[in-house]
């Protein structure tokens, strides 16, 4: 093939593709814009309709079949749902039930080819769904698209569908991290109902795997159910995995039960710095001023993070601020610095300056320390 012919063909091909691209671009712009403007216009109209349904008792403008099938209506519904709570939200729920919206979204979730539509369906079911959709949601906990799995978890949590708890917990260890984190948030929504399933999961799995177990522990921490304290203390004793123990200590701190005091106190001397630091923080969460003297001792730890955690923990305990002020004179300069940092973080510096203006003696040591230079 001669170069000339090659050139001609090449140019022809390239410019044809260019023409196609240009057309595609212009069409996208025009069509897109038109569709978007149209969608927005309808959405605004629907917001008006829904607002009237919500704020006027005797309002009965019909919601037509076309409206109910319109994705813009669903958008408006979801946005409205996010803005409201209580009775208003349940009024919206009635509108939803009345018009087959849930069923339609379940169908889309099961059988639509388009990712966008399935995702919208999952979000809609998550926000608006009820027991009718529970089974569909459970099924899609195994959906190939991670975001849909998350929404299904959310939906089940919102309708408080109890059989889902075990299903969700069992996925902690096998799910990809960000999905399981969202599942964790969902379980927190269940509250105390999730406590025993979580504990059971931890019990069974802690010798074998870490990721799911630590997530389960952190979930328990947020649920804040005292019943978990005893079992957690047992796990602390049984487990030899550092990550698991750290998460358990964290949970005990969040639960704040004095039963844990002895165990946490013992861990302040553990070999692992991360465990020492976490125990220090957890002791702060227990609220018992008896821990202060031990924590002051931890402020001399060789590891910076431990010192810092101990000081921050003290700051949160009754009588802690005063204790930190005395610690400013500690012969260990690192301990003194940790105390100063914790005091600053607790807002003491600002109030110290103010009190110094009013000539309050308590303010002096912190200001003096600040002026005295680095250690």
């Amino acid at each position: 093939m001669s170069l000339d012919l090659f050139n001609q063909v090449a140019v022809l091909v390239i410019f044809s593709i260019n023409a196609v691209m240009l057309t595609v671009l212009v069409m996208l712009k025009v069509v897109h814009r038109h569709r978007r403007l149209d969608h927005d216009r309808r959405r605004t109209a629907y917001l008006g309709v829904l607002s009237r349904h919500l704020s006027m008792d005797d309002y009965n403008e019909p919601i037509t079949e076309t409206m109910a099938e319109d994705p813009a209506f669903l958008d408006a519904l979801l946005d409205m749902r996010n803005a409201l709570t209580g009775d208003d939200a349940s009024t919206l729920g009635r509108i939803v039930n009345h018009h087959g919206i849930i069923q339609r979204q379940m169908r889309y979730l099961d059988s639509s080819w388009l990712l966008g539509r399935r995702l919208q369906a999952a979000v809609a079911l998550a926000e608006l769904g009820d027991e009718m959709s529970a089974e569909t949601l459970m099924r899609h906990l195994d959906d190939p698209e991670p975001e849909i799995r998350i929404q299904c978890g959310r939906g089940l949590g919102r309708i408080r569908w109890t059989p889902a708890i075990d299903q969700i917990v069992s996925r902690f260890g096998t799910e990809i991290p960000w999905v399981s984190t969202r599942f964790s948030d969902t379980l927190v929504g269940y509250g105390a109902k999730a406590t025993w399933p979580l504990l059971a999961y931890i019990r069974i799995n802690h010798p074998y795997e870490t990721q799911g177990v630590t997530l389960a522990l952190r979930t328990l921490a947020q649920i804040n159910d005292d019943q978990a304290v005893g079992p957690l203390l047992e796990i602390l004793e049984e487990s030899s995995d550092v990550e698991v123990r750290i998460a358990t200590v964290y949970a005990l701190g969040e639960l704040g039960s004095p039963e844990a005091l002895a165990a946490l106190d013992a861990l302040l001397d553990d070999d692992e710095w991360a465990l020492r630091a976490k125990s220090a923080s957890a002791l702060g969460g227990l609220g018992d001023p008896a821990a202060i003297s031990r924590l002051l001792h931890s402020m001399r730890d060789s590891n910076w993070w431990v010192r810092r955690s101990a000081a921050a923990a003290i700051a949160g305990l009754p009588g802690g601020i005063e204790a930190l002020y005395t610690a400013l004179d500690d012969e260990d300069p690192f301990a003194a610095d940790a105390a100063a940092e914790a005091l600053v973080d607790a807002g003491e510096l600002v109030s110290a300056r103010r009190r110094a203006e009013q000539e309050d003696a308590l303010a002096e040591p912190l200001l003096a320390h600040m002026r005295s230079g680095w250690s």
Partner: protein, 464 residues
Amino acid sequence: MSWVGYATVAYFIAMQAYLLFLALVSAAALRRNHHLRRYGRVGEMLSSRTTPPVSIIIAAYNEEAGIVDAVRSMSIVRYPRFEIVVVNDGSNDGTLGALIETFQLEQVRIPYRPDLESAPVRAIYRGRSGVDITVIDKENGGRADALNAGINAARYPYVFCTDADVVLDPDCLVHSMQRVVEDRARTVGVGGNVRPLNGSRVQLGHIIEASVPKRLVPRMQILEYIRNFLASRPGWSWMNAVPIVSGAFGIWKRSVIVEVGGLTEGHMGEDMDLTMRIHRHLLDRGVPYRIVYEPAAVIWTEVPDNLRVLRRQRIRWHRGLMRVVSDFRGMTFNPRYRQMGMIAWPGFVLFEYLAPMIEFVGWFVVPTAWLLGALDTTALIWLLLIALGMGLLNSLIALVLDESFGFFNSPADTSRLIAVAVIENFGLRQMTVLWRIRAMLGGKGTRSWGNMERRGVTNLAGQQ
């Protein structure tokens, strides 16, 4: 047509194939992203307790006029927990004073741990008035040096390095940290989308309306940035081989930056240098990691308005690029560095770094050959048409990919962009090629904390 001509054509074809491949991959990634963005992620991240906190770090030198507004606009970014660390790099104007007064800062003596080296720190200030702000006052040392000091003082596990004069999209942190949360263990860096704000209306630190300016110079750059950020980066990100996380929008895991020793002062491509060093460091150690790019995380910045400033910027960028290519040449086709070493880096060097030289041949040598009679007219015209056509194609593909973001909608905007896609081939592109050749030939560099030129930030990783 000599072998030089054939080689040039072959190179152009190979380059086009590479760009098209990247564009296709980017298109797929953007499509999925578009759906996920629409439904629900933002709200969940904002209300979840496990959303990781971020330290926003900015370096400021003589920014008295704008620093307060900049910090204010950053402080209303939508994110549950973050702090702002401003590093005053030895300004000799009222920058520090303005900050202290507006945010009621108090000087504090807290242990400052210099994990990274930097010029001496003179004082540290903390504020308590609603905005969680820390100001580091230090002696002048340059942007990289200042950022290192800021990273030292940062309290949170993730740092967001950016500049004082950018305009943040309120959701930029949510979108980019979403990528971190997806894979907490492996994600060490996230890059965002940088868009020129020239021509757009900005009010009180927010883009009211994005539009395409009339002036050709900024207009061409809008197109360039779209090509680079939408038709290339998502593709690299999918391969986990992003060679540059822009200095204007780089979120990093703090511990990793400390491990590699922070940013390199005096490097004109310090952002690219950091990214490549982190790749190399983690690949050497066999640590599973990923550095990704999030196109929905947007930040707006002002780009040079005229040729003079643009020229200086591009020469500086290319010098930075040269240094990086030289520093990391050992990675080229080195199987130890996996897809980065075998695909992305060689592709980058070949088609982005070497491109100006080949284009120089295309735009200058070939016409010269024609003038000298070594090439006949028809061949010349065909070749030029091919080059024009391919350039136009890349631009159009990029514009199509940009559609899903919906920034430019008016007919005026669209036609201006299409117009510049054609016009840039008749002079502007050639000029950038000449500047890069100029950069390669060496000479006096321009490096200073000036207005547009102060940043050693290589926003664009090359020129397509």
